[in-house]
Symmetry: C2
Subunit: 232 residues, 2 copies
Amino acid sequence: MSPSPSPSAADAIRVAVSAVIFSLRAHPGADKLMIPLVRRTRDPHEGMWALPGGWLDETEGLDEAAARTLAETTALTPSYLEQLYTFGDVDRSPTRVVSVVYWALLRSDLVDAQRSVAGAPENVEWFDVDALPPLAFDHNRIAGYALWRLRNKVGYSRIAAGLLPDEFTLTELRAVYESVLGRRLDPSNFRRLLEGSEALVPTESFRTGKHRPARLFRYNADAETDKRGPLD
Amino acid sequence: MSPSPSPSAADAIRVAVSAVIFSLRAHPGADKLMIPLVRRTRDPHEGMWALPGGWLDETEGLDEAAARTLAETTALTPSYLEQLYTFGDVDRSPTRVVSVVYWALLRSDLVDAQRSVAGAPENVEWFDVDALPPLAFDHNRIAGYALWRLRNKVGYSRIAAGLLPDEFTLTELRAVYESVLGRRLDPSNFRRLLEGSEALVPTESFRTGKHRPARLFRYNADAETDKRGPLD
DNA sequence: CCAAAAGTGTTACTTCTACACCCATGG
DNA sequence: CCATGGGTGTAGAAGTAACACTTTTGG
């Protein structure tokens, strides 16, 4: 990239990829937004919780590495995956590490299925984003930034549907927004907003419960003109 | 960052930092938004234009490296500097390079002063963002993304003032918005919008010209609650 | 006095927001 | 028939956009 042919042989900058993986997990009252953390089994910060991640392999791109990291932690494919930020302060780790961090959304139904079938992977636990323990490295800051970005993006984009199963009612989707944003939304205004946005496609099915059946909707992946860049 | 102690010794992933540096340069009619490019003097894509950049040094953070890159190209300090994105596709360069890219705004008055005093640095030339030549590597894509981000951010933030000198009239600021966004804005609505935003502080000075003198304003760095994250 | 930019005011229109109200179902 | 969530309507507030109009300067 630069006029000079290469960094000096003494350089030892390593590239890691980490992920902040959001999912909604059932909870009395409102569902809780949670992320999986991995307990470290090695020297720097051994025993502390950290974001899932790994070294970037020479044969894979950044997006691939993020997807691999995510699969190794949850054995799942995310419904949404986006680069968050790259952290490279000199003192963020005892050795020099540049971390390219991604954030992702997981469908709650898949997480539940995976956990009950395969059992939880070793050393992985889910934590409420509002009650994270002290994390290794600068991971608290990273998680906080990812959460801020999620909340921000939910405001103008329709990605929140990525936390739900294929089909869902408007009330379920509204509950997701309320969990993520941390405030109540007016049901009728919420309905109008999303029905006029082309982001959702109504199906012919209804969810039957204790009360009047609610129409099921499906996420419309086509209409993603939102506010993203020419990169994705 | 990961359970494994280190990437294998065979790995040869190098980290570069590049910058897309925007500045307004005088032009008949409306000012043009331009970026500096560097002509490559070495093997991969020798002779082609590329974004200014260099290898990340082991002793500097990413922000520092971006500022250094920028200073080496323009001998100037940016009025705004923000990380854009990290590019790391396997095939974007003959050898494996992960590029952390920043974007920056430069005050037009400083650029002019620097150029006339010191003369243009060797192998550096400014190009209209709407008429870039074919660039080395994936730099056309990167420049396009940076431009998209600038235009997007100008819509909801007040950073456009970073392209102007310390003091400026509302008409000058509006001209910046019009150059960046590529469309005309209503003068009176523009005035109301910015006067109500606390982003600008009126001074007691006036710019006297051919017509009625216009009040000079100053950018209010304090009121930057905009829409940025807890990172900056 | 005239041209042109600086600056003020007004009106129409669109979008948000709060909330009243009817509908359909299980118990 | 009633409690409750599903779903529709509407009126006021707030913000946007278009444009008429007054002010102040140089020439």
